[in-house]
Amino acid sequence: MEVTLNKNIESLPYLDNVKLRTRMANLYYNKFQALRNVTLEIPSHAITAIIGPSGCGKSSLLRLFNRMNDLIPNTRVTGDIELDGKNIYEKSIDVVDLRKRVGMVFQKPNPFPMSIYDNIVFGPKQHGRTNRNELNKIVENVLRKSALWDEVKDKLEQSALALSGGQQQRLCIARVLAVEPEVILMDEPCSALDPVATLKIEDLMRTLREIYTIVIVTHNMQQAARVSDMAAFMMMAGDRAGELVEYGHTSQIFTNPRDKRTEDYITGRFG
């Protein structure tokens, strides 16, 4: 295996509240290498955006953090990926418990074909919570947190599929919150939504970051600039995917990137 030191190790921003960390992380799908020596630290109670062109490995990196890549056959991971300083790829790790701590929201809203209420209590029930009063409280609490309560409080028994796209996505976020995660991974959470629904989700993210650690993959650079505190730029050069080019505070990345490749990408000088 080719080993090159990631030059970004030297220039990582100083963070004193690291929630997630990768060190020299490599990911292979069969022989294809999707991530190359990625080293970065993601702070807690902040929004970290991963940006870059299609196929550069953004989603692969995101899916490392809750081991979603495990579901793809012939996947191999090397390097350290840590949550609160503990390697999540160790054998002793319970993946179900990990995914409870590290929730995920996907590109397309994917509510279960059941009522709004049942969508939310599904997770808590799986984790053994059955007390109706307790479940009611969870439903109200997470619907309020996801800014959906006022819109659905009178129709909790209606099918979630009847909600609008933006409401469905906020329901999916509420569903993640219901299992009390610490980290929320968002993979293009707004790409299927209209602009107003997108702004609502962004507002919601800014509120949620007070309590959770959020990592978002987005193609929309303006969205990354608007919502995130930290930004990581990945790219692919030729057939080499999965290189982390630059990582820093969002204010720096979008006003004064250090690497010319970041500059060229975010100013649209190459696509």
């Binding site: 006003t255 500059e263 975010i266 649209g268």
Partner: protein, 222 residues
């Protein structure tokens, strides 16, 4: 492949507009000093009347910048360029105002007999215009070292200002009847000194576009 060709073309056109504005302001300074030297009141009036064209050009540049910010969401060096253009536009427009100020003084002086042959004031104007022209070259060529050098040259304008001040003060002390005429020339010199300071501000913006750092370079002693 460049994928924002139209955006970058529009940004390029705005930079051309800055050059045009710079040339207008420089010409106004030049004309105001020519008007002073030759007692050409007609030329002084032209500078005064032409000031609103300079102001309009500045507003036009601002409007184009605002449109680009609103519609193109510029990032990184493009964003720094647009913000700097907004600042440089203001500086250039102010330089035009100094030309206006000088021209008003020329009209006040009218056909009063000259206090002394004008030597240092035209020299100050030449230096200021030279600095202005080169600062815009540095802006277009993204020449950070050039910008720093020009900024340092503001000291020579300040020194000329000192010299003019001392000389005029001597006139006033020796013969109080010269106070009005000497004070008017002081105003002219002061306008030029301020114009040169504006050039150093332009240079600071050039440095910012290139390095992303806001730094004060060559702070004027006035």
């Amino acid at each position: 492949m460049e994928i924002r060709a139209d955006f970058h073309k529009r940004l390029h056109n705005i930079k051309d507009d800055v050059l045009v504005l710079g040339s207008m302001s420089g010409k106004a300074i030049l004309n105001s000093i020519d008007a002073l030297r030759n007692r050409n009141l007609e030329l002084a009036k032209q500078v005064i009347e032409g000031d609103h064209i300079i102001n309009q050009k500045r507003f036009e540049i601002e409007e184009k910048c605002i449109q680009l910010i609103a519609t193109q969401q510029p990032m990184a060096s493009d964003l720094r360029m647009i913000v700097s253009v907004l600042n440089i536009g203001t500086e250039l427009e102010r330089i035009g105002d100094y030309a206006l100020g000088i021209s008003r003084v020329v009209i006040m002086i009218g056909d009063e007999p000259p206090l002394k042959p004008l030597i240092d004031i035209p020299r100050m104007a030449e230096k200021t215009i030279d600095m202005l022209r080169r600062s815009l070259d540095a802006f277009i060529n993204q020449d950070v070292e050039g910008a720093r050098e020009i900024s340092a040259e503001d000291d020579s304008v300040d020194n000329l200002y000192d010299q003019i001040y001392r000389e005029l003060l001597t006139f006033m002390i020796e013969d109080p009847k010269t106070i009005t005429r000497a004070t008017r020339l002081m105003w002219v010199a002061h306008n030029l000194e301020r114009a040169a300071d504006r050039v150093t501000n332009i240079c600071e913006r050039v440095v910012f576009v290139i390095t992303g750092k806001m730094e004060e370079i060559g702070a004027s002693k006035y």
